[in-house]
Symmetry: C2
Subunit: 361 residues, 2 copies
């Protein structure tokens, strides 16, 4: 595989029939090298998820779902009978679901495939390993297709409201993170496919450089002009007046529209407001956590100081210095012009409008 | 040498008498390794300046001044007579002054030492190479001492007005960049020496990591607690409410107080204003360019895209992607609570107040 079909990057693919293999684009090697990993055993799927070879909540979920199919393929090759095959697949699924504990999409997708497997092999149904492989593949493909449709709908709604001018984005929210064209990046690529023309500016997104490594790579594959900048240059870029809109993704959105996303999103939103540039969030409705009323209640995950102090093992900060490494920050709803979901655009961003758009799905 | 005397880091030192040597702390090796370079020939001084082993405008100027003394030492060891010695020293000085063309302090300092050499060896004075070495050393030491006094005065004025709370800074403005304790960092270390207690937060300062590599190292040497963060985490940090003030340096300040400084300074100033946190600039009066009325007229230097796309040769952005790499941005005077100079603090930052404080020196 090439990592892109007709310029459209692909992160996760299934190859062959029910006894086929899961293929993952190794995102840790991008952009220097485009390499695919073929997974024919569950251990290699788990390793790929743990090592961030596949990342982005939707893409991880899809990989986990296909991982259950891989487990059924193992059962076929081991010659397991119906009862042993069922046991093997469900045990493997539990390991898959735990590969990244905080990734809610992963457990959700794996459990959804397991329900199909459980129903297929309930009681003395006599469902063989091959039967389980077929049914789990159908369930995984359905999850993948659903995500693709969500991305397409988000892209369409967002492109329809995108202002003229260049676009500034942060982190990676594209095909590499999802089963389709992405969320914020789908807005950009859909507008481009509509014939709109603009430049895209990608914050590099320290500490893990997902903007430089992944977003820029995706856009180059698609032939869309992209320019990378250090995160702190966004203020100067906005001051030049060439940016028509900022579009970013979301990790969690509260009932009032406050949005947790990759560290740096909040600072970008403040700068956009200071320059009168509209700031959009793009995310599927599943990103909303309506049990939480506002962003002050979102716990912020703090990650390994080594991501800040020694990127790729290169020491940039001395021993004896601390490191502050929050994974996310919270952008208050008042700084967001609109939240683009598969059900439509929430704008203005208020609790009532959130309830209306999400409730109308 | 250890790179620090009693916890105070030192970037540039002269060792021995007039035929001694220039010693430079190799800042490209920090913080992983503390290594001194001994320069007994002009070529190695020029190489150190070009390769950023010594950086920071005042420190470069001081190194250049001592470089002229090194040239006189070469003339002694080559056994040159008075006329040849003079010719050798002035030719070497021209090469030194050109080692970094945009560093105005470098040419200024080298030319100041050359005037002494020129006066010493004018006409048939018969001044020997040893005479030139002695007089140029005295001139270089005077430049070094002057800079040390400027730093001390800036630190004192700044510490006197520094609010309570933790302090956030950007880039390196300390002993490593100057002949003394620095500018913005001198404010911080002077307040600490006064017995004030606070935490210091250092933006890592992409693309070249001067905050993580150099500022954090200086503060660790001094036993002042320091925490490094990626530049884009500053917004989230300010939102926590623990920052009492931001203090940064300056590369150029216009007549109305608009300030050009390391990329990212402007974004930080906007965020500080959004959180009601006072934002201070610390710089010697020589940083003011009163011929320029406002920041819109300051040309912004754009540097090598490789600094963004492949730090230390590690490729983080794909071929085909552009890179936007402005070295500086401009912070408008309205976002600056005060400009701390060796002559006092300019606050509020207005054209009239700038003229008053600078004119009163």
């Amino acid at each position: 595989m090439s990592g892109s079909a007709g310029g459209v990057p692909v992160a996760v693919a299934w190859s062959g029939g029910a006894d086929g293999q899961l293929e993952l684009l190794d995102q840790t090697r991008l952009p220097g090298s485009v390499e695919w990993i073929a997974c024919r055993d569950v251990a290699s799927v788990i390793e790929a998820i743990r090592s961030l070879r596949v990342r982005g909540a939707p893409a991880i979920g899809i990989a986990g779902a296909y991982g259950v199919v891989v487990a059924a393929g193992e059962a076929i090759r081991m010659g397991l009978g119906p009862a042993e095959a069922r046991k093997h697949v469900l045990a493997a699924a539990e390991l898959l679901a735990e590969a990244r504990p905080t990734a809610v999409n992963l457990r959700w997708a794996v459990e959804r495939v397991c329900r199909v497997v459980g129903a297929e092999s309930a009681g003395d149904s006599g469902a063989t390993a091959a039967d389980l492989a077929r049914s789990s593949l159908a369930a995984a493909v359905a999850i993948h297709e659903e995500d693709r449709r969500l991305c397409t709908a988000i892209g369409r709604h967002g492109a329809d409201i995108l202002p003229d001018g260049d676009i500034l984005t942060h982190c990676n929210t594209g095909a590499l993170a999802t089963g389709g064209d992405g969320t914020a990046l789908a807005v950009i690529t859909t507008a481009w496919a509509d014939g709109r023309r603009f430049g895209v500016w990608a914050d590099e997104t320290r500490p893990l450089f997902q903007g430089a490594r992944l977003t820029a790579w995706e856009l180059v594959q698609r032939g869309i002009p992209v320019t990378v900048l250090v995160d702190s240059a966004a203020g100067h870029l906005l001051a030049t007046g060439r940016i028509g809109a900022c579009v970013v993704g979301a990790d969690r959105i509260t009932a009032n529209g406050d949005t947790a996303n990759k560290i740096g999103t909040y600072g970008l939103a403040v700068l956009a407001a200071a320059h009168g540039v509209p700031f959009y969030v793009a995310a599927p409705s599943s990103t909303f956590d309506l049990a939480i009323t506002d962003g002050g209640q979102i716990p912020i995950e703090h990650r390994d100081p080594a991501e800040v102090k020694s990127p790729w093992g290169h020491v940039v900060a001395p021993q004896g210095a601390g490191a502050f490494n929050p994974a996310f920050d919270v952008t208050p709803a008042r700084l967001i012009r609109g939240i683009i979901t598969e059900r439509g655009v929430i704008s203005p961003v208020t609790e009532a409008r959130v309830a209306m758009v999400l409730g109308g799905g």
